[in-house]
Structure formats: C-alpha cells, structure tokens
Assembly symmetry: C2
Homo-oligomer: 407 residues x 2
C-alpha cells in the first residue's frame, strides 16, 4: 500500500497579497502602469533611496571594527534609542521619564505580529481590532491570523472628497469597549482642537487601545516632527499605546525591511514588564533580527551632519510629491475634467485618494491598463513626466464616460 | 480617578534565553570564559567569518544594478534554488522531480516558527514534538509558544561516552504515533545499514514526521555532501519532511541571520499546496525577508570559483577543529586525567560533549569560571592557544576532585 502524503489535505492557498500587482504583471499591454507601489518612486520611475544611504552602506561594509555577531533578541540598542528619539524628540517627556521603549522588528509585518501576540495574551476579553481599509490587506491579515476579529474602517469622505474627522469620531463611538484601534494616516486630518479632545475622551472612556502605524515619517509634510505631532497629543492625553515605526520607506531600504514596535507606558516599571514579555515572543518568532538596515539607520541618525543631509533628502522628496500633485491637478483642469481636484493637493504624503468612484477605477484598470486599488488611493510618486499625460487623459476619459453613462 | 494601566497585569517575564551567558557576563573574574557560543570562533577568539564573505559584501554594496526593492514574501528565488542545490545536490532526485521547495526565513527561529504554524494548522490531531535536548532551549520554545507539547530527548550515552543509535531507536519506538520529530546532529551517528533501516521503518509505521535541523552544513566533516548524506536516505526511504537549513554559521553571517524552511513532498502538486500555505503564514509573520544575507550567499553559491574558495574555507575550519580536539585530548593525557578522552575526537563538528558529569560541570562553572552547559556540550572552537592550558587543567582538577569525593 503506498504511503499517504502528509500534505494530502493541504489545499492550494489563495494568494493573499498583491492580487492587483499580479494582474498588472500578467498584462501584456505596453502602456500598462502600476500606481499602487508602497515605496516612493523617483521621477525616473526608479525606487527612491536616500542618497546618504548608499554612502553609509559602503562605509559599514568597509568598517573593520564591526564584528558580525548575533544581535540580541531585542535588537540593536543604539538603533532603538535613535529611532525613538526620532519619533518623539530627544527631549520629549516619554523619553526623559524612561517610559517609552521598543523592540527591533522585521519586515513590514513583524511589529504587528509581535504586538498581536502580546495583545492576544495580555489584553484578555476584547479581541477586536479596527484597521483602516487601506492597510487592511496587509495588517488585518496578521491580526486575523492570531484569531482577532478585524473590522475595517475608512475616513475618506467620498462625497466631500476629504479625510473626515467626523467619520473617524463616528467609528470610534461605535467601536466596542476595549477594542484595539490601528490608526494610520492620521497626519492627513485637519482636526480642530475640539475634535482632538473629543476623539481622545471617547477613546479613553471606552478603554480603546491606540496602535499607531507610522510607515512614512518625514514623507508626509517633509518635517519629521510635524509628521508625528499627534503622538504628543496622545502622550499628553495620558494614553499608553503601541506604534509600528517602520523605517524602510523614509530611508529607502525596502530590501532590509526594518521597524520598531514602540511601547509607551505610564511608567518605567510597566514598560519593562511589557518589553520583557515582548522579548520572549520575539525569541520564538525570529530570535535574532538581521542588522544591515538597523546599522544604516543608526549611523545616519547618530551623526548630525548625515542626519541633516537625510532630512534634506526627505524635504526634496516631499517638494517633488507636491509638484506632481500640482501638475496632475493642472492637467485635469486644462482637460476640463468635471469636478474640483483640490483634494489631490489637499492630501499630504506619497499616497492619496484620486477621488474616483468604483466605476471610474474599473474603467482605468480594465480599459486603460492603469492599475490602482478599488478605493482609488494611489502612490503619487508613481506619476512622472513620462506617464502624466496618459494618466490624466485616462482619468478625464473615465470621469466623462461614467458621467455619460449615469445620464 | 487615575486611569488604570493597560499593562497593569503584565508581569516581568523570566528571560528565556542565555541564562548561562548572562551569568558569565556578570562574572568579574578575569579568567572567566564562555565555551558555549553558537558561532564558530577563530584561534584569535574572534567570530569566524568566511573570508570570501567580506569581499562579496563589498561587491554587493557597490553594485549599481541592484535596486533595493521589497523582496517577495517567499524570499529571493535564486537564493532558495542555490541553497536547495547545496543541501541535496544539483542533480538529486527531489530537485529534478520538482518536489522540493523552500521559504526564505529569518533569524535562527524563523523557520521553526513558520513550520510550527503550518503543522499546527494542517497536521491535525497529534501536537507532540520531540526535540533533542541541546536544541530545546531555543527551538522547543517556538513549538511551546504555538501550543505544542514538547518532549526533550538525548542520545548521548554518558556511560559509553558516545552518540548511541540504540538510544535514538528507543526514543522513536516510544514516541507517540504521528508526532513530529526534530532531528539535529544526526551526522554524528555511526549507524549501521541495519539501524538506519530500522529507524526509518519505525518512523514510517508510526507516521512520525521528520524535521531536520541543519545549522552547520560543511562544518561537521568539512565535506558539504557528506554532512547531509542522511537526507538522501530519507528521500530514498519515501519520506516527506521539513528541514531548517540555517546558513548563518557556515558563511559566518550571524548578524544577517538567514535560513530556509525546506519542504520535501511526494510530488510537485503537494509541494505547491504546502508552499502556498506557508507563504500566507510568512506574509503575516514578517511579509518581506531582509536580503543582505541572502544576497551574500547567492553570490557565492552561484559563482563556481567563489563557491570553491568558500568550500576551502570550511575545510580549513574543520581541520582546525580537529586539531583543537586532538590537543585537548593530548593535554588531558599528559596531565594523567583519569578516563579515555577519545570521545572528544570521535565527535564531529564545532560542538561536542566533554563527557563530564553534572558535578564536574558544576565545578568548572563555579570554581573555575569556565561557563559550559549542564550537559557538558561545548563549542570546541572556543578553545585556543591562550586558554587551552587553563581549560584542560581545570577539567583535570574537576575530574580528580569529584573522583575523590566519590570515595
């Protein structure tokens, strides 16, 4: 009798990531383009890498004093320290009070994974997580995989064409007591003081645990401090929270995916307890985080001249993003595309909503081979001098045709 | 009323890793030494790095054609292919039949973690894992963390002072039906044809799933093929299995911890199903594996001259290990230490049992500040010209004193 395979009951899994990218790759049309890359692109259509990084990579590799020992489980201490100072400011309260710490994590999912395991173990009853829809494909999966119930939310108001603080407030008000709230893209809000107070009061009264996702610090406004100002509100508001501080995008080291799971606690003792548990989880997840990415970042952040050069790089990128958005808006105006396109320039950062409905998105993907997600949120740095005419003309066509079909 | 901390119920976790190393670090005695590092050391007491690696690291960093894009979830294809050929041989059956594959994993625990998640989901009833005692501290934890029952075994016969095939056979015979058997250090066995046949027959009849741990390919005998010959037996014996192929030690890139979770299935279709599920788990574990380590290894393995140079490096290391062991044995003989010390040179590889009892180990740690694990299994490359006299004299003392106290 032949032996039965161990894998006999294992079905072919549906590929969970990158369906859009996969379809794009299979498309043979020469004009096809993909506008949803996670990474920042240059005007030449290449992945952006901070010019400082190239130099430092070479320097690290030539450093004879570096030994290539296993990293401790928590990761590189100097890397964690420098990154936390970047996030909160060197002289911030949480740092001087010794109540913020972090664990060096891996790839784009590592920090979420580690956090999910901690929250699953120590957060008891409520196992509900709210995740912004644009991040749900990647990060929702991590929580689902750990047995959490994942609720998707959005605060893009597709009628008003803006990020709506009221939608955010509604979601928080309806969210169940004690849930975990993954908050990304919050720097794109224009919230009044009153709205901030209301948001935090609601979260506090419902014991909602905030989990900030910060994958693009410095690439939103070009000002590192400005991009994470909202964290200070939550610190001042007396919150404890987690934060995924990803540093792949703002340094342009996508292939060395490195991040930190940041923990803010009320005091040092609570922090140390939380970190000690996280460390044991990290031990069973990967044991030693790879170091190349962390070394590059630490070298840059710990040298004032290099840090300044890197900040300048970020400013240039953001200026370029603003220029692209201006051009897209201008081209659409010149084409006479119906509607106001101010929402394009009103949004900050690499990614933003085009403000198209699903029918228009469908038209772009299927008829024009321009691959964008269903919600119409694209990476504006994917648009450059070579493709801007095709993109804007196609958007114009999509809007006109779908307007016609409505009649 | 002050808000209660989210972390109020989180106790300080006991540090699970490196208790021995921690005590060593806290010891102020100038003569202290640690003989249990995982990594291979040079005669100068430095971490060994394959000399080829330095050159290649520099070459990679200077390569302008490399873009630094996110890796796919499965990892670097060329890296996986080259590593599988290293493990099984380019023209091996499993490779030509397209029924071996792998997922690029991270750190020293990554492959175990990924495998544990797969086995937990798809292996149904039996959630029992057998792990060799020397690896239990690190790898057992991963399985425990995933809810498996972990049983520790050893096949070091402390009376006969040798690795005992009969002890292995006994463990397998007593293991429950359908369990998972993590097998490390099996290249150190002197098994007869008859014993191999018996081992495989028992495992097959009990549907025991083999999970090979291969962290030192090439560092056991100095011959890469010889070190993994036993895998061919299991392939020929009609087994499906997993394998942790860690490549940090044999290239000396400990800080870029890189490994592959290898899957051997009966046919390509079964393999693809298993890999597709593993890919989705990897997505939720880290998403993108860091690349530096994989790039170094791929560059070396795909260039025949570099590969040859690296193989030569491994041979030199192994010759050096043999020399150290010979010297230790010789010194003990000259000191007149009671007992035969042939078991030291009979064992292959960097790590091996000293053949001391727990009282003797205790003496070395507490009185002589020589830190070795309770089972007396040390890393022989930690012994060098500077410390060999102190080590052997201390062993001699330990043996004499504990012999005396027995009388």
């Amino acid at each position: 009798m032949p032996t039965l395979s161990v894998f006999v009951d294992v079905p072919l899994a549906q590929k969970l990531e990158g369906r859009l990218l996969k379809t794009y790759k299979q498309d043979n049309c020469p004009q096809k383009m993909f506008l949803a890359y996670r990474a920042c692109m240059t005007n030449e259509g290449q992945l952006w890498v901070s010019p400082v990084v190239h130099k430092i990579r070479l320097q690290i590799v030539q450093d004879p004093s570096l030994n290539h020992e296993y990293m401790p489980v928590m990761g590189m201490k100097s890397f964690i320290q420098a990154s936390l100072e970047l996030l909160f400011g060197k002289h911030s309260r949480v740092i001087s009070e010794n109540r913020v710490g972090g664990v060096h994590t891996i790839g784009d999912s590592g920090a979420f994974r580690l956090a999910a395991q901690f929250l699953k173990t120590w957060r008891g009853a409520s196992q509900i997580v709210y995740i912004i829809s644009s991040q749900n494909e990647l990060h929702g999966l991590v929580f689902q995989d750990m047995g959490f119930t994942v609720c998707e939310y959005s605060f893009w108001d597709s009628r008003q064409l803006c990020m709506s603080p009221n939608m955010l407030l509604d979601v928080v008000e309806q969210a169940p007591h004690g849930c975990i709230f993954v908050i990304g893209n919050i720097d794109n809000f224009k919230m009044t003081q009153h709205q901030w107070v209301k948001l935090m009061a609601t979260m506090k009264s419902k014991q909602i645990f905030p989990f900030f996702d910060i994958p693009y610090q410095g690439l939103s406004t070009g000002d590192l401090e400005e991009d994470t100002k909202f964290l200070q509100y939550f610190v001042s508001g007396g919150f404890e929270f987690f934060c995924n501080q990803s540093l792949s995008n703002n340094f342009g080291i996508y292939d060395e995916g490195v991040a930190i799971l940041v923990v803010v606690a009320f005091n040092n003792q609570l922090l140390l307890c939380a970190l000690s548990q996280l460390m044991n989880f990290a031990l069973a997840l990967w044991l030693n985080p790879p170091t190349m990415g962390a070394r590059i970042i630490t070298t840059i952040l710990c040298n004032p001249a290099l840090q300044e050069a890197w900040k300048q790089n970020l400013k240039e990128v953001v200026e370029n993003i603003m220029l692209i958005k201006e051009k897209v808006k201008e081209k659409l105006r010149l084409l006479g595309t119906p509607g106001s396109w101010n929402h394009i320039t009103d949004q900050k950062g690499t990614h933003g909503y085009l403000g198209l409905d699903s029918q228009q998105v469908d038209y772009l993907v299927k008829k024009k081979h321009i691959y964008i997600p269903k919600n119409g949120r694209i990476n504006f740095t994917c648009i450059n001098a070579c493709n801007i005419d095709y993109v804007t003309e196609s958007i114009n066509e999509a809007v006109l045709l779908t307007k016609d079909s409505e009649k």
